[in-house]
Each structure stands twice: as structure tokens, then as C-alpha cells.
């Protein structure tokens, strides 16, 4: 779908509803790097990193613990209520400068917003962070929560950051034949070709799988009811 991946040095938004698999996809990205000997960094706010790592282990996203042990991966976690945005930003920037990761996952970008003293600062704070990541040449994925679980509107929640975001991957739940499915689609890839079809995403013990469930469907992205005709043959 991404025609080979995300460009080195780019910033990608993983926009998705709660439970849509954003964190796991981000961890999969880190894991793929670690398995190739690249340095990875996780910077999170909400879910405790031990829980994230345990979840990765359960679904077969490997290499993370080994990466940490081998000094290839670094995990930084802040409780979102702790401190002010300047401390969090400083922590992110300092760790990036020290670790020099090839791949960075910022899990829950909203964590910065929770800690801001004056909301009108956020856009400047984000562009400061984005500039520094660009300067360091880090390839960044950040997750952010889609506020609406279902619905036709998709609001990109973070101002000031979208300008510095080259790619957007959308992940959400849809109702399909009285079943909730997780889907993934590419919303934007700057200056590059991509496959715009939505795919079902399945998280199993063997890792993340993307399926061609909706080959014959329309209107998947808005999460509304789909025509009940037929579910396309699952191909892999």
C-alpha cells in the first residue's frame, strides 16, 4: 500500500480510533527496524510500556525486548499528568539527540496537549518538535486518537502538526455485516504514489495481517453501514 514504506526522515500520523491497533502498528514499525539492526525509540504517555511490550509479545511482534537489551531500542514513558509540555518536549528532544534513533514512535501525541499551560502554544510547540526531528533525520510515526468511533467525518485533531506530517495512515473500526472490523487506509503520502484501497487489519497471534476484504465495497472510510451484498473473498 505504501509502495515500499515511509521515506526516511518523514513524519507519519497514525490516526485511529481507540483500539484500532495504532500502537501495535507503530511497534511493528519499530520491530521491523530493530530486526535490521536499526535503532528505535518509543516515547509514550498513556499505556505503560510494560503493557505495550507484553501486548507486542502476545501478537508476535518480536525483537523489542531483545532490542532494549542490546541497546538498540530505548523506551521513554511519562505519565501525561506529570509536568509541563516544556519538560516533555525537552525529554523527547534530549533522548532523540542521545539515542539518535532511525525510527521513532510517539505514542499518543495528545499527551503533549494535556500538559500545555496555554493551549494557543500547541501549534508552535509541535512545529518546534517537528523541526528538531527533521534536523535529526529521524523517521517518525506518531499516533493520535480519532475522536469519533463511527461517523462520516474525520477530523485531523492536531493543529500545527499536519503541515509537518508527510503521511497519514487512518485506522478505525467499521461495522460490517453486524461485525466490527478494524480497517486501515492511507489518507495521504506526500509526493509519492500509494494504494488508496482500504484493507481489513487483523491482529492475531501471528502478528498483524492486512486483508483484501472490501474489494467490492464502497464507503468504508466513513465507517457507515455498508451494502450487505457480499463480503469479498478474503485473499492474502
Amino acid at each position: 500500500m505504501l509502495r515500499g514504506g515511509v521515506r526516511q526522515g518523514s513524519v507519519t500520523m497514525l490516526l485511529g480510533s481507540s483500539g484500532s491497533g495504532k500502537t501495535l502498528l507503530g511497534m511493528q514499525f519499530l520491530s521491523a527496524g530493530i530486526l535490521r539492526g536499526q535503532r528505535a525509540m518509543y516515547f509514550g504517555f498513556f499505556e505503560h510500556p510494560d503493557a505495550v511490550l507484553a501486548k507486542c509479545q502476545r501478537v508476535g511482534i518480536g525483537g523489542l525486548k531483545e532490542g532494549i537489551d542490546r541497546g538498540l531500542a530505548e523506551i521513554v514513558w511519562h505519565r501525561p499528568v506529570e509536568g509541563v509540555v516544556d519538560e516533555l518536549g525537552e525529554s523527547l528532544i534530549e533522548t532523540v539527540r542521545r539515542v539518535k534513533p532511525h525510527r521513532l514512535l510517539i505514542d499518543g501525541m495528545e499527551g503533549f496537549e494535556r500538559a500545555v499551560d496555554f493551549p494557543e502554544r500547541m501549534s508552535n510547540v509541535y512545529s518546534t518538535i517537528a523541526q528538531e526531528l527533521e534536523r535529526q533525520g529521524v523517521t517518525t510515526l506518531y499516533t493520535t486518537e480519532l475522536r469519533m468511533l463511527f461517523g462520516r467525518e474525520i477530523e485531523v485533531p492536531i493543529n500545527g502538526l499536519s503541515a509537518a506530517t508527510q503521511n497519514i495512515i487512518l485506522m478505525r473500526h467499521i461495522e460490517y455485516q453486524a461485525t466490527l472490523l478494524r480497517v486501515l487506509g492511507i489518507l495521504k503520502v506526500r509526493d509519492d504514489d500509494y494504494d488508496g484501497r482500504m484493507r481489513e487489519i487483523r491482529i492475531t497471534e501471528d502478528g498483524i495481517q492486512l486483508l483484501d476484504t472490501f474489494a467490492a465495497e464502497s464507503r468504508v472510510v466513513s465507517g457507515g453501514g455498508l451494502s450487505p451484498d457480499s463480503r469479498a473473498g478474503v485473499t492474502e
Binding site: 505504501l2 509502495r3 518523514s10 521491523a32 536499526q38 509541563v84 510547540v125 518538535i129 523541526q131 506526500r190
Partner: protein, 268 residues
């Protein structure tokens, strides 16, 4: 002295974020007002600077013009990491100036300050409770004369002076502000139940401070200052880097990022 390389000697505060905001520290021999509400952190800031002087082999004098005893202040400071009882009366001297001011007025106070600065060869003098000196002044002119005498003392001895005061408004006209080398303003406010402390440099002669509000945290580690994130980095133009030719980083998910490399398939 006029060569472009000449930079007036500075007195670092020892609080790294604050020194950054202050463009390296205060001027040696400068006079500064530190203002803020009660509980805003003025006393902690000033004491922390005194102990920093002691740690760098220099001396500081702390003069209180308030009726409150030093014991109460120490009880509060004792939990701070910077507080080191062993240097008190050796490198950091505490002097009560309240009764001298009450009985002898401003002249007696100036004499006390002069004596303490010279006797201890202090590089930092703190006057806590400037408002008491203001109340002891019969007119604005007398108060300004007092500030002027402190300036002359500071300049002569190259001792930096901090004047702590509760009068903590960021705006409004204070004649003493026009006289001193800098004004640091501490605030302590609530934002939706969350306490927020900030520091702001209202004035700083001979320096290019980072302007605006910077966050302050007070804990057992003392007072910490975090420069506003967006003020820290150079305002480089945001240049769209040529990503189009950069290598691609894959996810090791064949359907998402079709794999060309055999190792990718193996990794699964």
C-alpha cells in the same frame, strides 16, 4: 573595554534553565529585583543562588528585612537538595536587618549592608523584603536614594544584589524598576485546578534574554526553570527536505509495504 569581544563578567545563578534564559547569568555588580506573590519561589530562588555561590568557592550574604525568624525559613529550606547547613556562617551568612531598619532607618540599613558585603567579600547579596525599606522611606525620593546607594555599593564591590519583593504585578510603574539592571517576575497561578508556575524576565540590561513566560517547578530539588520549548531552538526556516529521493523504511508487513527483500519475508 570597548572591543567587541568585551563581555561584562557574569554571575551564573547555577539554575541551568534560568541561566539560559538570562543569556548566561546576571551581571557581576548588577542590581536585580525579584518580584512575585507570596509562595512564588523568591526565597527559594535567592537561597539556591547563595548556596551556588558557596559551592563555587564564593560567598553570599542574605539579609532579611522581615520580622520572621531565619529558623522558620531554614525549616522550609532544609528539605531542598541545595541546602547545606555546613556552609552557613562559613560561606553563606544570614543577617536579620529588621531591627536595624526599625531603629536606625535606611541609613543604618545601608551601613549594615556595606559592612556585611565588605567583611565577607560577598559576590552575592540578597535583601529579602524590599517592601520594608519602602515603608521606611518618607518619600519616593528617599526610597530611590536608597536604591541608588545600593547600586553604588554593588558597582564598587562587584557584588551582585537581589532585591526580593512581594509587590508582584507585571505591569504598572515602579520607579525602582527604571534604576535596576533587571527585573525577574515569578508567578503562581491556577489553570483549571492545575498549579502553574512561571518566570518572566521583565528587564535585563546588557543581555538578550529569552522573553516570555518560562515554566518553573519547585520540588525537593529546589527551583527548576524550563525555557519555553519553542524559544529554545533557532528559528530556522522550515525547509521542505527532499524526501522524494530518500530511502524507504518498511514495516515488514508485506501487504502494507510489499517486500522486495527476502529477509523481510524471513523476519515474519
Amino acid at each position: 573595554m570597548n572591543s567587541p569581544e568585551y563581555a561584562p563578567p557574569r554571575l551564573p545563578t547555577g539554575i541551568s534553565g534560568l541561566d539560559h534564559i538570562l543569556d548566561g547569568g546576571l551581571l557581576a555588580g548588577g542590581v536585580y529585583i525579584v518580584q512575585g506573590p507570596p509562595g512564588g519561589g523568591k526565597t527559594i530562588l535567592a537561597n539556591q543562588m547563595c548556596f551556588h555561590q558557596a559551592n563555587t568557592g564564593q560567598r553570599a550574604v542574605y539579609v532579611t528585612l522581615l520580622a520572621e525568624s531565619h529558623a522558620r525559613m531554614f525549616a522550609h529550606l532544609r528539605r531542598m537538595a541545595f541546602f547545606d547547613e555546613t556552609v552557613i556562617a562559613d560561606r553563606v551568612y544570614y543577617i536579620g536587618g529588621y531591627s536595624v531598619l526599625q531603629t536606625g532607618g535606611l541609613d543604618a540599613l545601608v551601613a549594615l549592608l556595606r559592612g556585611a558585603m565588605q567583611k565577607h567579600k560577598a559576590t552575592l547579596l540578597v535583601v529579602d523584603g524590599l517592601v520594608s525599606a519602602q515603608e521606611a522611606s518618607s518619600s519616593d525620593r528617599v526610597f530611590k536614594q536608597f536604591i541608588h546607594e545600593i547600586q553604588a555599593l554593588a558597582d564598587f564591590t562587584q557584588c551582585t544584589v537581589l532585591l526580593l519583593t512581594n509587590v508582584g504585578r507585571a505591569s504598572g510603574f515602579f520607579p525602582e524598576h527604571t534604576m535596576v539592571d533587571g527585573v525577574l517576575h515569578l508567578t503562581d497561578e491556577l489553570s483549571e485546578l492545575r498549579p502553574l508556575r512561571h518566570i518572566r524576565v521583565l528587564k535585563l540590561r546588557g543581555s538578550a534574554p529569552l522573553r516570555g513566560l518560562h515554566s518553573v517547578r519547585i520540588s525537593d530539588r529546589g527551583l527548576e526553570v524550563r525555557p519555553r520549548l519553542e524559544a529554545l531552538l533557532p528559528e530556522a526556516p522550515v525547509m521542505e527536505r527532499l524526501l522524494a529521493t530518500a530511502d524507504k523504511l518498511e514495516f515488514a508487513l508485506p501487504e502494507l509495504t510489499p517486500c522486495c527483500v527476502a529477509e523481510c519475508v524471513r523476519a515474519r
